[in-house]
């Protein structure tokens, strides 16, 4: 339950290994802070995610919306197979396409 969240300032934010309803509220807090702190696009590293459910998808979509309101984009720089499978199933694989501006973020 107490998956430690390590908001890495710098290259990409990692959300730990579980992105499910159990941690959804904590992850939301982390993301709110990260979005507020981000001066540009927000980069997420989801390579370590082994558990991923619809609440995780929802968080990503919501984060994308929040960032869009500020004129920024959400970049998923790395994603595990679990994340890829789920997004593909939902027809959301485009979330994984790193926008061309990725390099320009910082």
């Amino acid at each position: 339950m107490t998956e430690t969240l390590t908001p890495i300032r710098g290259p990409a934010l990692s959300l730990g290994s579980e992105l499910t309803i159990a941690q959804a509220a904590q992850h939301r807090e982390t993301l709110v802070d990260a979005v507020a702190a981000a001066s540009g696009d927000l980069q997420l590293d989801l390579a370590a995610v082994s558990e991923f459910d619809s609440s995780g998808v929802q968080l990503l979509l919501s984060a994308r919306r929040s960032l869009a309101e500020r004129g920024h984009a959400l970049q998923i720089v790395a994603a595990s197979a679990a994340v890829r499978d789920a997004l593909a199933l939902f027809g959301l694989s485009t979330l994984l396409d790193t926008p061309a501006t990725a390099a320009a973020a910082h």
Binding site: I21, H27, D53, Q58, L61, A63, A88, L89, G91
Partner: protein
């Protein structure tokens, strides 16, 4: 809110959770047992999965991690079975049954608040075994691999069509453990998901997001040969948290338009967005007519009627009703029936605390008493109108009483179903083949009785299993089919319920029982009792427990306890058996313990109530009794038959009424029947039928002989309720000393 209040609420909810979990476990067990006999029953597998899933979900809410973790393993394996990835094998069903026991053990730990390392260790071992079973057979099929957009499975069979599914999950879906992802993944088993679009219009930005609420909807294309029923069943147990709309492959543009209206409520921007999503997953614009904005009148109507009233909305606009109502209305009604099928037990029942019900029944008991009081006053007043009014009231009170008692009635089948597991386990253990046949499971009985008969019944079932039914080889040698039959049947008979446990096993050996009885001095040497009397010997206390080496098929072990338990419920038990053919035990119980139809009598100024059901006839006191006025017990001649009698006045030590002494001929004798035994009771006066609410006697009266309780009469007087069993026993016992004085045979158990 105070923390104490919170704690209290949580504690109450926890009790509810444990109760529910117990129900679910029972359903789970039932489903697993059905699975063993009929592995192809998909609905049954769903039921098993649902039960496990519900337990896991609620356990999660209460933070019972041990339950959640273990149940997850069980659920995973079940999911494999449900999706068809795994075949149902003996190993799997055995492991699942063990898993069920483990879940029960874990829930018990939650209940008691104590956890033992042994149980935790078992969770580990069993969990690993379940995982291994899942992994071992799941190689061939990969249920987890979704059929993503574009991945065409083996060419769709003839008749496959492009279904369109529109899903909107409710806010609580995720919290209830329903993950849309899992549903969509599961759809891949029915065919190919040709496209999926997430509807996230309602999804707020992070700042306003409740991350545990579900804000998602889906528009899906599904290429499948499955029928609408099959697709709906996937979402069956999410019905409360998911609005599902299915358009069949042959749905026309109108149906899609109707769906647009339903989902977008005439909101132009939302309509545009949804159309764009549809275009994205290949719902061709050609399928939609040009006028996508739909007639405004219809949209308004839909809005007024709420979101799901598709059929109503179209009916309000007759112009479109014909085209629209059919495809749109069908899923709506189907889903409703689907829900009914899903959970007859949850949807149609209201859970009420037992003490509330008991309180209601108490009150109605008082009402019955007050009602008869009013009737008595009416009688005294002699007013015809008043009498008529009280008569009506008393009719209603009686109907209310019956209705209230019916509230406590539950089908006995639930009790029977728990034997199924015992039969399964025991027959495996002993190497016997046994068919378990339950009939009359719908027969209803008072809830408190159901709980109390479970143990005695279990004893009878075990006796049949252990000692009655032979091993297959032995059966075949005796010319019987290898598979034995254990039957349990319930039915109503008059005001009683009759439950029968029967087997076609080796039966009882009459000669052995007789020899044993004579050896133990229960019968005199050379006695030639009837069959019924011999079988009754089985119930004698300690009859065969004393000598365990006897192979009296063990029938007698503990039968006296069974009989005592049944008699404590004012019931009777009888047994018949044919050597080599089988044994049949019959239990007869009153439907309720709270109230009876009584027969009111007066003895020396004290009112006594007999259960009306046992009264067989009333006669004038025979001359034998009059000849010995000081004798409490004796025998009399009833149309040539010799029966024992008890003079209640002497028995209870009350002075017979003065009027009685003046006119002794006014006394009466009531013949009561208890099973095969008949006894006469001498009373002063007969007062007739009486609705009797039985109240237990306080502890200080416990030493009183043969009293079952008390009741209050309309006049406010107290009446004592006679305990027939106790009275009979006393009558038969007291008869012994007079044996020498009489010449008539008086074997107590005569027909």
């Amino acid at each position: 809110m105070h923390r104490d209040d919170d704690a209290e609420i949580i504690a109450a909810a926890r009790v509810g959770f444990l109760d529910e979990a117990a129900d679910m476990l029972q359903q789970f067990e039932q489903a697993l047992l059905v699975m063993e006999t009929d592995p192809a029953d998909a609905e049954n597998l769903n039921a098993a999965f649902r039960a496990a899933h519900t337990i896991k979900g609620t356990a999660g809410l209460f933070g019972c991690d041990a339950v959640v973790l273990f149940t997850h393993e069980v659920e995973t394996l079940l999911e494999g079975l449900r999706s068809g990835a795994l075949p149902v094998t003996d190993a799997i069903s055995a492991a699942l049954l063990e898993g069920l026991d483990q879940m029960a053990a874990l829930l018990d730990e939650v209940r008691s608040g104590r956890s033992s390392p042994a149980v935790a260790e078992r969770s580990q071992v069993l969990g690993a075994r379940l995982r291994q079973l899942y992994g071992a057979s799941a190689v061939a099929a990969t249920p987890d691999a979704p059929a993503p957009a574009g991945a065409t499975p083996a060419a769709p069979a003839a008749g496959a069509g492009a279904w369109h599914l529109s899903l909107r999950f409710g806010p609580d879906a995720l919290r209830n453990g329903l993950d849309p992802l899992a549903f969509i993944r599961y759809l891949g088993n029915l065919g190919a998901v040709t496209g999926c679009a997430v509807v996230a219009d309602d999804l707020p930005a992070l700042a306003d997001l409740d991350a545990e609420a579900c804000h998602l909807g889906f528009e899906l294309g599904l290429h499948s040969t499955a029928g609408q029923d099959e697709i709906e069943r996937v979402f069956e147990f999410a019905a409360d948290d998911c609005s599902l709309h299915i358009l069949p492959p042959d749905a026309d543009g109108d149906a899609f338009e109707q769906l647009l209206d339903l989902r977008c409520q005439g909101d132009g921007a939302a309509t545009e967005a949804l159309l764009a999503l549809w275009a994205g997953i290949g719902v061709g614009m050609g399928q939609l007519s040009q006028d996508t904005s739909a007639p405004p009148a219809e949209a308004d109507a839909a809005e007024d009627e709420g979101t799901t009233a598709t059929a109503t909305a179209s009916a309000a606009n007759p112009a479109t009703a014909v085209a629209v109502a059919e495809p749109a209305a069908v899923p709506a009604t189907d889903r409703r029936t689907g829900r009914d099928r899903r959970a007859p037990a949850e949807a149609r029942f209201v859970k009420v605390r037992a003490d509330k019900l008991d309180h209601l029944i108490d009150l109605i008991g008082e009402l019955v008493i007050a009602g008869s009081g009013a009737q008595m006053v009416a009688n005294q007043e002699g007013s015809a109108l008043f009498l008529e009014a009280t008569q009506r009231v008393s009719d209603l009170v009686q109907a209310t009483r019956d209705g209230a008692l019916a509230l406590r009635m539950v089908p006995v089948g639930e009790t029977f179903s728990r034997f199924q597991r015992v039969v399964r386990d025991t027959s495996k253990q002993l190497g016997k083949e046994i068919e378990f046949v339950v009939t009359g499971g719908d027969t209803e009985l008072d809830k408190s009785m159901v709980e109390l008969i479970a143990d005695p019944l279990m004893h009878l079932v075990r006796n049949s299993l252990d000692h009655g039914i032979e091993l297959p080889a032995e059966r075949q040698a005796a010319g019987k089919p290898a598979t034995g039959r254990l039957g349990i049947n319930a039915c109503h008979e008059g005001g009683s319920i009759v439950i029968e446990v029967s087997d076609d096993g080796r039966g009882l050996r009459r000669d052995r029982i007789l020899a044993k009885a004579i050896e133990r001095g229960l019968l005199p040497e050379g006695a030639a009792p009837s069959d019924a009397e011999v079988w009754q010997l089985i119930f004698a206390p300690g009859f065969s427990t004393a000598d365990k080496v006897t192979d009296l098929s063990g029938r007698g072990v503990g039968m006296d306890v069974v009989k005592r338990n049944i008699e404590a419920l004012r019931g009777q038990i009888a047994l018949t058996s044919t050597e080599g053919q089988g044994t049949r035990t019959q239990i007869r119980l009153p439907l309720t313990l709270a109230m009876i139809d009584g027969f009111l009598t007066l003895v020396g100024g004290v009112h006594y109530v007999l259960p009306l059901g046992v009264v067989s006839e009333c006669i004038a006191v025979p001359k034998e009794c009059l000849a010995a006025p000081t004798r409490t017990c004796g025998t009399f001649d009833l149309r040539g038959e010799v029966l024992p009698y008890i003079d209640l006045a002497l028995f209870y030590g009350v002075v017979p009424g003065a009027a009685t002494e003046a006119e002794p001929q006014r006394r009466s004798l009531v013949v009561v029947r208890d099973g095969a035994v008949r006894v006469g009771l001498v009373v002063d006066r007969l007062l007739g039928e009486h609705q009797t609410v039985i109240k237990p006697l306080a502890g200080i009266f416990r030493h009183l002989k043969a009293l079952a309780g008390s009741t209050i009469l309309g006049s406010g007087d107290v009446a004592l309720v006679l305990d027939m069993q106790g009275l009979m026993a006393a009558a038969l016992q007291a008869q012994q000393p007079v044996r020498h004085a009489q010449t008539t045979p008086r074997f107590a158990l005569s027909e």
